[in-house]
């Protein structure tokens, strides 16, 4: 995991910033608008509990260094979170400005301003002064949960190795976030900051048997493995579709790494979650003429955030509601997808509506109907209990039913946001540190991390 990454110029041109950054003057004006609430609701709404008024008022006082360090203290991935967080339902959703019918403080853009100003002027994650510790921890997966866990453990002096099967670290931050929100290059820059703390990164596929070795070689293991591939589309004729059927995450990773620069004319995305919208918008920007999102229920049932849906409409995506794909036929001229109209009955079940089938001609089908859990991998970790494919943990410490294993992020929560993974990873790091601490340290600890007491 040491190769250099070069952004493809065509991808850069097709996926410019969705939200322009603040210029310094505008950032100060916006920072001054913040009321500096006491026990601010934005801070409580942030899964990583960034001290929002504190970092914002430091922007107002032209102390951007202090601002960025305030963010990093709570959230080591403060730069990427500032760009990918659904702030509308988090900090900005909690802003008291809503109470007086004013637009909330633009916390996300201010955070981005602080982080980018800091990093672009050579700022680093401040290294805490602490003694080195001998104990070592393996973090499996290199996504946000593992990065946050690794950074916090390293800050406490532990020896940490992050392992991932992919050639570049960062997990979905590098491979899965829409490029107009977070560039792969920016994700990798952030990972480099964590590497500079002294965290080791290895490209290593973890499979059956490997976990045994890890358990022998490391004092504790953090599972930040995320979820697996997109769930398979269970439709007659899928097997014949070949490369015209694409996994949404692979599709997104393909263009982000510059391997895919175009897509065929007619694209159908199945599912209406945030990933479905990322894939649909990407298809449009890669040159597709018609992009359709098929969803089996209605607009109000989609799991994508409202602003993602609005964004998709602006990009020219067509939504087709209450349609269930049932059969796919492949020919040289393209794919034919037969769908049945369905209604949701009072008990929430889908009921077919007779005589209202829809036939869609297309070239590419991208199912985005949720990721599968990594059953195979997780079942190798002996004693780690799962529930419906998710790792069961103690929420305050991240500890699993096998005390040497801790976990966080999508493999625990089933797929939430980057900031949730960061919070999980940090909580687990504090749990691990406490569990690995000397008996005195353990008895001094209250049982929960200090920031949860």
């Amino acid at each position: 995991m040491n190769g250099t990454f070069a952004e493809h110029p065509e991808i850069a041109a097709r996926f410019p910033d969705l939200h322009p950054p603040f210029d310094p003057r505008a950032a100060v004006v916006e920072a001054n608008r913040c009321l500096n609430c006491f026990d601010a609701p934005c801070m409580g709404a942030c899964p990583t509990h960034i001290d929002v008024p504190k970092f914002i008022k430091k922007i107002a006082s032209a102390n951007v260094t202090g601002s960025a360090r305030t963010i990093l203290e709570a959230n080591v991935l403060g730069a990427s979170c500032s760009r990918v967080c659904p702030v509308e339902v988090l900090c900005e959703g909690a802003c008291v400005m809503h109470g007086r019918e004013e637009r909330p403080i633009e916390i996300g853009r201010l955070q981005r301003f602080a982080m980018e100003t800091y990093y672009s002027s050579g700022g680093r994650i401040p290294l805490r002064s602490r003694p080195e510790r001998k104990q070592s921890i393996a973090c499996i997966g290199s996504g946000p949960a593992s990065l946050a866990c690794a950074a916090e453990l390293r800050q406490q002096g532990f020896q940490v190795t992050v392992m991932d099967r992919r050639s570049f670290p960062g997990g979905l931050n590098t491979y899965g976030v829409a490029e107009y929100k977070l560039r792969a290059a920016d994700s990798l820059h952030e990972v480099e900051q964590i590497r500079e703390l002294g965290v080791k990164f290895e490209t290593r596929k973890i499979d059956a048997g490997t976990l045994d070795h890890l358990e022998r070689d490391f004092d504790a293991v953090f599972l930040g493995v995320g979820l697996g591939a997109m769930q398979r589309l269970d439709v007659e004729g899928v097997a014949d579709a070949g490369p015209a059927l694409m996994d949404a995450l692979e599709f997104i990773a393909g263009y982000k790494t510059g391997k895919r620069l175009a897509v065929a004319s007619r694209v159908v995305v199945i599912g209406a979650g945030n990933t479905a919208i990322d894939a649909a918008v990407a298809a449009k920007r890669l040159g597709a003429d018609e992009v359709t999102i098929l969803y089996r229920r209605q607009r109000e049932n989609i799991s994508a955030f409202d602003f993602e849906y609005e964004h998709a409409l602006k990009e020219g995506i067509t939504f087709v509601w209450e349609m269930l794909p049932v059969r796919l036929t492949s020919a040289a001229s393209g794919l034919t997808l037969i769908c049945t109209r369905v209604r949701t009955d009072a008990s929430g079940r889908l009921v077919p509506v007779a005589g209202a089938d829809l036939t869609i001609q297309c070239d590419v089908i991208i199912p985005a109907i949720g990721q599968s859990p990594l059953f195979e991998l997780l079942q190798q970790a002996r004693g780690v209990k799962l529930d419906k494919g998710r790792v069961i943990i103690d929420r305050a410490t991240g500890q699993t039913s096998n005390p040497r294993f801790f976990a966080g992020g999508d493999c625990v929560n089933g797929g939430r946001e980057v900031v949730d993974a960061v919070a999980d990873g940090k909580r687990a790091a504090l749990g691990i540190a406490q569990w690995l601490g000397t008996p005195a340290e353990r008895s001094a600890a209250t049982g929960t991390p200090p920031w949860l007491t």
């Binding site: 500096n36 026990d39 109470g99 919070a423």
Partner: protein, 469 residues
């Protein structure tokens, strides 16, 4: 429709808004444009032997993203020949006979110099004279400006010289850079001045560049104290004007032209309520141009119409009797803070302001249980938001946070006032960002009004404790 025409110490003008003696009144061309914009009068940039200025000359204090809360200058009096200024005065008066043109004067402290300049200014057509005894920088080092205004005897002497020669009203402009502004005001009255104007600018250093360590405004690496003006100085000006306009020593108050941070009609009304007959404006015009006078006139007229005042004389000075010595304030008047829960947005600024900056009587205990009485804790406040594990909400999976109470904001975020401890200081209502959310309401103490003066007049209350035996 309100009548704004003004007769100030015998100087007539269409409205009470004058431009103060400053860069906006540097030359005739400017003043004619100002009159076209609606200004009722202008005090000419101080006329005297031409000086040489430095660059730069101005610096300002910005606050919370707003420019020029306060402005500072180290510019001296007019750098133009006396004859040029006088010729232009004549031209302006010819073209604008109904507008007030006041000549601001400053010459060396010799009787004949003052006699000469007074005669020339009046011959040019000035409607009145303003004696610049206030300029706090540069000129004062040469024995003029505030060097005169800071010594009542000098001010009286020169005012008397001017009065010997003057046929038009003479205004004395007071400096605030003095311990008691009334001393010079009294001196002016004793010398027969027809009116006063106050305040001139306040000695200041506006700031220092943190990279070069040079104070602002910087002149080749150095600076000098300047004169401070703009919105920041208005409260100081109002206080000094009240002191002078409420002072009967050496005769009743004489007409006062109010100066100091007047930026809008509202500011002007405050100066009128403290007895001013006109106001003079500089910083606001330097910031936005002469056009600001339009709203000053319009806003003042509309306010007067709404209040039923036909002329400024109808309300001039109404607030003067409301200012008194502290010892005459009613000690038995009690107000307490009242929070309108339906307007509260839950910012809790009132709580922390009361907790850290006042009397620890605004609590966050509506849900945990109301406790009145004096607080004896010395611990960091518990922060509710950080006690929980927060996740990005997914509508299908995460129920919304429980909402307590009937108001838009959940009750645990709405602070509560302990009236038994509230001292009625106002701080919470000042920091509250929502208009009318925190109001101060009167609570009867059941006691008759009593002032400190009254209380100490009775020997029993103010006598020192008696030592037994």
């Amino acid at each position: 429709m309100a009548d704004l025409t003004t007769n100030f110490a015998g100087i007539r003008c269409p409205n009470p808004f004058w431009l103060a003696s400053a860069p906006p009144t540097n030359c005739g061309e400017q003043i004619m444009r100002a009159f076209d914009a609606g200004w009722g009068g202008a005090v000419w940039k101080t006329i005297g032997e031409p000086i040489t200025n430095v660059s730069s000359r101005y610096s300002s204090v910005d606050w919370a993203g707003q420019r020029m809360m306060g402005l500072n200058n180290i510019e001296l009096i007019s750098d133009r020949p006396i004859e040029t200024n006088l010729r232009e005065i004549a031209e302006v008066k010819k073209r604008y006979p109904k507008h007030a043109v006041i000549a601001s004067l400053m010459v060396e402290s010799k009787r004949e110099n003052w006699h000469d300049i007074v005669k020339r200014a009046e011959d040019a057509g000035a409607d009145g004279l303003e004696l610049n005894f206030g300029c706090p920088h540069g000129m004062s080092e040469r024995g003029m400006g505030s060097a005169v205004g800071q010594v009542p005897e000098y001010a009286q002497m020169i005012t008397a010289w001017v009065k010997e020669a003057a046929r038009t009203p003479v205004l004395v402009k007071l400096t605030p850079n003095i311990t008691d502004i009334r001393m010079v005001a009294r001196a002016a009255k004793r010398a027969g001045a027809d009116g006063l104007s106050a305040i001139n600018t306040i000695n200041s250093i506006t700031g220092i560049d943190l990279d070069t360590f040079a104070p602002r405004p910087m002149v080749d690496g150095k600076s000098s104290h300047g004169g401070y003006c703009g919105p920041a100085v208005k409260p100081i000006a109002l206080n000094m004007i009240q002191q002078v306009n409420g002072d009967d020593v050496d005769g009743p108050p004489i007409p006062m032209s109010g100066i100091g941070g007047v930026s809008s009609w509202r500011d002007a009304v405050e100066f009128f309520l403290l007895g001013c007959g006109t106001v003079q404006v500089c910083t606001a015009a330097m910031h936005y141009g002469y056009r600001i006078v339009e709203d000053m006139i319009d806003g003042l007229s509309n306010w007067m119409d709404a209040k039923g005042f036909a002329t400024i004389e109808d309300f001039r000075g109404l607030s003067l009797p409301r200012v008194t010595d502290w010892k005459h304030l009613n000690l038995n008047y009690k107000i307490v803070a009242s929070i309108d829960e339906s307007l509260c947005i839950g910012c809790q600024l009132c709580h922390i302001a009361c907790w850290d900056g006042a009397h620890q009587c605004i609590h966050l205990d509506r849900v945990s249980g109301v406790v009145d009485g004096q607080v004896e804790v010395h611990a960091k406040p518990r922060l509710n938001g950080l006690e929980t594990i927060a996740v990005t909400p997914i509508a299908k999976l995460d129920p919304p946070k429980p909402h307590v109470g009937p108001y838009a904001i959940s009750l645990e975020r709405i602070p509560r006032v302990d009236e038994t401890e509230c001292v009625g200081c106002n701080l919470c209502s000042l920091v509250c960002p929502v208009d009318q959310c925190i109001t101060m309401v009167e609570r009867s103490t059941g006691l008759a009004p009593q002032t400190w003066a009254e209380r100490t007049a009775s020997a029993a209350d103010c006598a020192p404790p008696q030592v037994a035996g």
